[in-house]
Each structure stands twice: as C-alpha cells, then as structure tokens.
C-alpha cells in the first residue's frame, strides 16, 4: 500500500477564501471593511478614468511626450532605432530560451513568455485606439510588435543550431546597437545633427537613464574595489569620493555641475547641458553602486580569494574570475535598486530646465488649452515610470535566477 502523506486534501477556492478572510467575526469585519474600501476606490478611479478625465491632453501631445522637440523630418531615425531594438530584444529573448545554462532542459514557451506575448499584443492593439494615433503610425507599431515576436519565435526555434563560436559574440549586438543608437539620435556620419537640447520626453529620460546606468556600474565596481584595496592612496581616494557624493543631495550636485563645469572649462570644452547632467547622474549613482558592490564583496569568504591566489592566479584574474562573479550576484538586487532610483532621479532634470518626461509634462500643463488637466498627465507619467521600473525589476530577478548555479531550473539532472 502506498504511504498516505498528510494534508493531501487541497481546499477549494471558496473554502480557502473563507478560511483566510472570514476565519473569525473580527476577521470578517476587517475583511468586509477593506474590500469595501478597495471597491469604492477602484470604482471611483474607473469612473474618473472612463468618464470624467479628458485624455485629449495626452493624445494631442503624444509625440511631445515621446520625443520632445525632436525634428519631425528626422523622426524616421527614431523609428528605425525602435525597430532595431525590437529585433534585438526578440532575438535575445528567444536565444535565452533556446540556450539555457549548462544543459538544463529547454522549454520553448514557458508560461511567463506566453503572458508577455499576450501583454505585447494587447498593448499593440489598445495603444493606437487610446492615443488616437494616425493610421501610418498605428501600422508602424503593429509592424514593430510583429517583428519582435517574429524574432523571438525564430531565435527560439533555430537558436540552438547556431554554432557555439558564433553564439559567444551574440551579446555584442547590444553595445553595438547602443553606439548605433547614439549616432541615430544625435546625428553624425552623414546624418543631420540633432542637438541634445532638442531631445525630450521619454526619449531623453530613457537616454539619460541608460547612459548613467551603463557607466555608473563599472565605475561603482572600481570604486568598491578601491575602497577595499591595500593601497592607502587608492583606498582613501575611494572613501573620500564615495562619502562626499553620498553626503550631498543630487539636486545640489546637478546645479553644481551645470554652473561649475561652465566656469572651469573654457567655452567649447564644457559638454552640453544635457551631457553635463548625464555625467553628474553617472558619478552620483556610481558612489551608491560602489556601496552595494562593497556589500557583495564583503559577503564572499576570504577563502575564495586565498584559493584562487594559491592556484597561482594573479590578483586581477582572481578578482575577475572568482570574486567578482560571486560578489556581483550578491549585490545584484541592491544594485538594481540603485538603477531604479536613478531612473526616477532623472525627473530632477526638469528642475534644471531640461525637458525630460516630467519637464515636458510641465510645459504641456502650462499650455492654457490644457488648464486643469494635471491629474491625467501625472497619472500617465506614473504609469510610464512604473512600467520602466517594473521591467528593470523583472529583468533583475530573471538574471538572479539565471546566475544562481543551484536554482532548480539550472541544475543538471544527475546521471
């Protein structure tokens, strides 16, 4: 007879609901009160969104929110960039699924992926309607979404057939795409220059955020290593820098950057106002990333470095191959937390007169035609920022699982 394991009966949804929400009289009262409150708020919000709110402020200014004052006749460059980004995303996504780490079984379409596709399709169908986009733009969005999904499907289908030697270079498409993107956005190499002061809206926000995130990370790692170095000059330099930056509010540093750089550097040498802000953001975030990475380094037992060194690895190689891979994985959640606050900190750019998403929103709201439409604008802004931050958070969690050698999905079944 098979052994009977205890608690095999799973309660039905009703029973569970009853047990969790209405276990006692007080529980029931609290539950009813809370549910009532939530329903009231939800209904109120739905009523406002569907009936009272006037969304013309968004649909009429959708281009402004997206790219600011980027010249209309040059916007094809941004469309091209978006298309390339969609292709690269689909490709990477499919490859990740087709080539899981070290022999774990590949599943072509896990449930999360099916959800993601559903959300993408719903967005593609709903967005043109909600924003009342013109037909050509609507078609473009459909094409881009279609391309993304096609790339995802193709890479998932045939990714495993790519020879290993070529596969190693695949991640390089991202830095290349980033450089290409910078050229497409700012011009050069035969393209008309578009000055940074003409970038705006979501474009500027994302550009600032990605630039700072990509640069502050290596900088932060170096600072963290410097802070733990045995060389006094390096150590004190790092400590001084980190503590100075962490001791000043970002907005102060942003103003400082705008004014002082202009005084210090002669005319042409000072970077443009937008780039000055980007560098300040980068140096600011690097100090915080350094502290996150330092906590990761502290979590790695000293024996790891000793083992690596006793095998004859010189210090840089011991750090790169043994200590940092482990330390960065420990530091990953805290680091991504820094990235998320960095993304949100880009709204401070509006205070020094740059037209990022918030800055653009403020100019729109200052237009007498849209007087009193603040709630609509701020709600859309909040949703946009939430989407970006949620994407970062999801990405970090996926990366964490992938980098964890003993996570169930990565473990090779024993032979």
């Amino acid at each position: 007879m098979a052994p009977v394991s205890p608690v095999m009966v799973r309660p039905g949804p009703w029973q569970r609901l009853r047990r969790e929400l209405f276990a006692s009289r007080v529980d029931g009262l609290i539950s009813i009160g809370l549910i009532g409150g939530l329903v009231a708020v939800g209904l109120g919000l739905a009523k406002w969104v569907l009936v009272q709110a006037q969304w013309t402020v968004i649909s009429a200014n959708s281009t402004l929110f997206a790219v600011g004052r980027y010249p209309l006749e040059q916007q094809w460059r941004l469309w091209l960039l978006t298309t390339l980004l969609a292709l690269a995303t689909g490709l990477s996504w499919g490859l990740l699924r087709a080539l899981p780490r070290s022999g774990a079984s590949a599943r072509a379409w896990p449930r999360n992926d099916r959800w993601a596709v559903a959300i993408l399709v719903v967005l593609a169908l709903w967005r043109p309607m909600a924003l009342q986009l013109a037909l050509p733009i609507q078609l473009r969005w459909w094409a881009i979404t279609g391309l993304l999904l096609l790339a995802r499907w193709a890479a998932g289908r045939w990714g495993a057939a790519i020879p290993a030697s070529a596969r190693r270079w695949m991640p390089l498409i991202w830095p290349l795409l980033y450089l290409l993107g910078m050229v497409l956005i700012s011009g050069g190499l035969g393209l008309v220059r578009v000055a940074p002061s003409d970038w705006g809206g979501l474009l500027l926000t994302l550009l600032m955020a990605t630039f700072s995130i990509l640069l502050c990370f290596p900088l932060g790692v170096l600072l963290a290593l410097g802070r733990r170095s045995n060389l006094p000059l390096l150590r004190w330099g790092s400590v001084l820098y980190i503590e100075f930056v962490r001791g000043a509010p970002l907005i102060t540093l942003l103003f400082l950057g705008q004014n002082i750089l202009g005084f210090l550097l002669p005319g042409g040498l000072a970077p443009d106002r937008v780039w000055r802000a980007a560098w300040v953001l980068t140096f600011f975030a690097a100090a915080y990333v350094a502290e996150a990475v330092r906590s990761g380094l502290a979590a790695i037992p000293a024996g790891q470095l000793e083992a690596a060194r006793s095998l004859g690895l010189p210090m840089p190689q011991a750090l790169i191959h043994v200590v940092l891979p482990q330390a960065l994985r420990v530091a990953l959640p805290a680091t991504v937390g820094q990235f998320i606050s960095l993304l949100q900190d880009t709204t401070l750019l509006s205070l020094i007169g740059l037209l990022d998403l918030l800055g653009t929103a403020r100019t729109v709201m200052a237009n007498p035609a849209y007087l009193g439409r603040n709630a609509e604008v701020y709600l859309v802004l909040a949703v946009l920022f939430w989407c970006c931050c949620a994407a970062l958070g999801l990405g970090s969690r996926a990366l964490e699982t992938r980098l964890n050698p003993t996570a169930p999905s990565n473990v090779t079944p024993s032979r």
Binding site: G303, S310, L311, G312, L313, H321, Q326, R329, P405, T412
Partner: protein, 248 residues
C-alpha cells in the same frame, strides 16, 4: 618509497607577529625533502596553520627565510606567483568556487595561468576526477556534492596545476566522520606516488601510516620532529607526551 635528497622546502628561523602584536611564530625551522610526507600536529593556536600558510605566502613573516623548490620567498610578487604555481594547497573549508562546475573548478587555473589548451586541460581534469573517484560529478556544482566529495574535488583542483608540493591545512576537520576516510585514502595514494606533502592534521592514524616524519608545534616553536614510530611510542619531550595523552 621514491625519496631523493633534493630539498623542497627550507624554513629557517621564521618569526611572525600579527598586526595586533601577537607573536605567532617564534623561530621555526623545517626542512622537507622531495617525496617526503611531513605531518604537523599541535594544539590549536600553536601556529601550525600559520606556518603552513607562509610556504605559499598566504601569510607573511617578519624574520627568517623560507625557500620553496629553490625559490626564495620575498616581497617580490613574481617570486610569489612562481611559488604558488608549484605549490598546491587544500583548505579545511574546501574553498571550491561555487559559481563554477566541478570541471571548471579544475580547469580555471591551468588555462589562465599555465596557458594550456582547454581541451588538453579538460582531459587531464577528467583523468584526475577519475582518480579521486568522482568523474561522474564533473558537471555538477560544488554545492550539490557532499563534504567528502568536495574535498576530493579540491585535491584534484590542486593536482590539475601539476604542483611539486601539496600543502594540506586540516583537510578533514570540517568533514563528517564517515567522510574522513575517503579523503585520507586519496591523500595516501598521493603519498604512495611520491608527492611531496606537508599536512596539518589531527588524524593520528594517517600520521602513523603515511607520514615519514611528524612535527609537533606548540606556542610558535617546533617541539619535536621525529619519524612516526618514535614520535607516537617514544616521544622525547615532556610537551609531546602531554599532547599525545590529550589526543589519545
């Protein structure tokens, strides 16, 4: 036994103070010949691990001299790296790299430091894993192995660099009792093959059966150095008798 008279480790008057002023080594002498197995015993805090770790410069020392395989230990980093390539070390806590598979743990250093072709190193690594009896675990991660298996991987990882000397720092102290034997057997086989080994351990049976010489350290000095028969049956010093009565 294949023992020649070539000197592999020569330590003279080694003294070490920790930064807090503690005088850990108070003039230690030791000579280890090629193919010799030396077991260092002693109570905790006697400086035996510290002394062992000076041989591959994991610990520095302030006075005296150490030369390993003809290379004098100094602050010169090139000398230290050169010595570390020839001296393998096995730790009490294994110190395997948890983010790499067993096979990658073995191949990392030979590929990076000795610049050997990857395929060749992998072949050798698999041979070594076969030798320590865990070839079938090559693609697992250290966290999926038992303590005894991990320590055998650690030994194989050291061997993969083809060292001329192996240092063992209490290799069985962190193991469950039933796993001690499998590790000791691997070490015994190494000794039979003529590997020069310095072993800090509390395993009396291993010292009796495998060691050519047993060294007792106490309070930062060598108290007694003798062949195992003599050391365990007829110790010359009062401190040795006291130590032996405590561990048996």
């Amino acid at each position: 036994m294949t023992r020649s008279d070539a000197v592999m480790i020569e330590a003279r008057g080694v003294e070490k103070w920790y930064p807090n002023g503690f005088h850990a080594l108070r003039g230690v002498d030791l000579t280890v010949e090629q193919g010799e197995v030396v077991v260092i015993m002693g109570p905790s805090g006697s400086g035996k691990s510290t002394f062992l770790r000076t041989f591959n410069a994991l610990e520095d020392f302030q006075k005296g001299s150490i030369s390993v395989d003809g290379i004098t230990l100094s602050d010169d980093l090139r000398h230290i790296d050169a010595i570390r390539r020839e001296v393998g070390m096995v730790f009490q806590q294994f110190n395997l790299f948890p983010h790499l598979t067993v096979l990658q743990n073995l191949t990392l250093a030979p590929v990076l430091v000795r610049k050997l072709p990857k395929a060749e190193v992998q072949r050798r690594a698999l041979d070594l894993l076969e030798r320590v009896g865990i070839a079938e675990q090559a693609h697992k991660y250290p966290g999926q192995l038992s303590g005894g298996q991990q320590q055998r991987v650690a030994i194989a990882r050291s061997l993969c660099m083809e060292p001329r000397i192996l240092l063992f720092d209490e290799p069985t102290s962190a193991l469950d009792p039933e796993m001690v034997q499998e590790v000791l057997e691997v070490m015994q086989a190494l000794a039979r093959d003529g590997m020069t080994m310095v072993v800090v351990t509390h395993e009396v049976r291993f010292a009796r059966q495998v060691a050519h010489r047993v060294v007792l350290m106490d309070a930062g000095v060598v108290v007694e150095s003798a062949p195992p028969e003599q050391f365990f049956t007829d110790p010359q010093h009062e401190r040795s008798r006291q130590f032996l009565s405590q561990i048996s």
